[in-house]
């Protein structure tokens, strides 16, 4: 899966599509043509993914984005995406303490930091989006985040909620085709 990881921004023609790779969709699957008939959706989904996980992106560091993605995938019980983002983390210097807390479902136990605030925000946005409130945004700000970085984080977690369901649905469609 690591080889499919994008290294540049912008969805490039011919580059590997992350959702296809994670679902295991290839041109020999009838579903592949159906999915790619909606090419604007495929393109913008991949474009979002590449923006969020471009190692040279400004703002939030790539390791923190990947920790958020892994946390969101585990909380959503998406095995395929949890494996994908966990594998991607191997490319970067590891934060063993944060990874143990995420894996153990106890991110509150981390010492106060921007990352801890981000992981707690991620949990609420994934599991209890209706409980979102102004105080949660103030906590991110108190942890030192600028508004533009808060927008990145919220968009990232919201995108992951979309990607998790897209992968789940496409996997189910593929499974039905191969029955």
């Amino acid at each position: 899966m690591n080889d499919n990881y994008p290294s540049t921004t912008g969805a490039r023609p011919g580059s590997t599509d992350a959702v296809d790779a994670i679902v295991g969709l290839t041109p020999s699957d009838p579903l592949f043509a159906i999915r790619h008939a909606r090419h604007k959706v495929v393109h913008a989904t991949q474009g979002s993914y590449e923006l969020f996980f471009d190692p040279s992106s400004q703002g939030l560091p790539i390791q923190e984005r990947l920790l958020v993605a892994w946390h969101a995938s585990l909380l959503s019980r998406s095995d395929a995406l949890a494996r994908h983002y966990r594998d991607a983390l191997d490319r970067y210097a590891s934060d063993a303490e944060a990874m143990a807390a995420i894996e153990g479902g106890r991110v509150d136990s981390l010492p106060p930091s921007r990352l801890r605030a981000m992981l707690i925000f991620t949990r609420k946005l994934i599991l209890k989006p209706v409980e979102g409130d102004q105080a949660a945004l103030e906590q991110l700000r108190d942890a030192g985040m600028a508004t533009a970085d808060i927008v990145t984080l919220a968009q990232l977690v919201a995108f992951l909620s979309y990607q998790i369901r897209l992968v789940a649905g496409l996997s189910a469609m593929k499974a039905l085709e191969s029955l």
């Binding site: 009838p30 579903l31 159906i34 999915r35 008939a37 909606r38 604007k40 959706v41 393109h43 913008a44 989904t45 474009g47 979002s48 923006l51 969020f52 959503s76 019980r77 998406s78 095995d79 609420k124 946005l125 989006p129 209706v130 979102g132 102004q134 949660a136 945004l137 700000r141 508004t147 533009a148 808060i150 927008v151 990145t152 919220a154 968009q155 977690v157 919201a158 995108f159 909620s161 979309y162 990607q163 998790i164 369901r165 897209l166 789940a168 649905g169 496409l170 996997s171 189910a172 469609m173 499974a175 039905l176 029955l179």
Partner: protein, 197 residues
Amino acid sequence: MSTIIKNKGYTNETLEWKAWLDVVDPDNCTPEQTEVLEMSHPKAKVSDYYLFLVHQPAILKQRSEAFNAIMYAPGGLARADRELGSLVVSRINGCVYCASVHAQRFEQLAKRNDTVAQVFDEPRGAGVNEREKAIVQFSIRLTEEPENIGPDDIQALKDAGLEQAEILDLLHADAIFAWANRLMLNLGEPVFPPPQA
């Protein structure tokens, strides 16, 4: 809009939305921000939602391209059915603002509001026919337990008459509201119209 429907905290009235943090001043946008606002929504320059998200214009651009392609592209699943999926996801997630917008769109496209009244009251089991019931059921399952979506869920949609390409369009419409609802619920709040005198 015809009849106002209000139930369980949901409404098909037109609501406003205000951001909880600072928005970008539309008179002081970069050219990139202006371009992304214009492609996102006809009223984006007077909308707190877009003026907040445009703090990160490249991300908003991809989101808007995905959203507009999913909700408005011709062919495939009828647009009213896409709106039904979005309405149900919004109702399950508790997004009053999105539910009001997509209740109105459903009614504009379907020329009726009976399903809206049902979804507001109780989304489980809602739908005026087997096709709608299948769309509603899938949208609830994908929202609440995506990890349990399997071939049986897809087969239920096929049994109700949906083609493979229509199922994909429904999946997209439901999934994009997992995205949209989370932003609307966590970055600001709906503003209700003043009570009529």
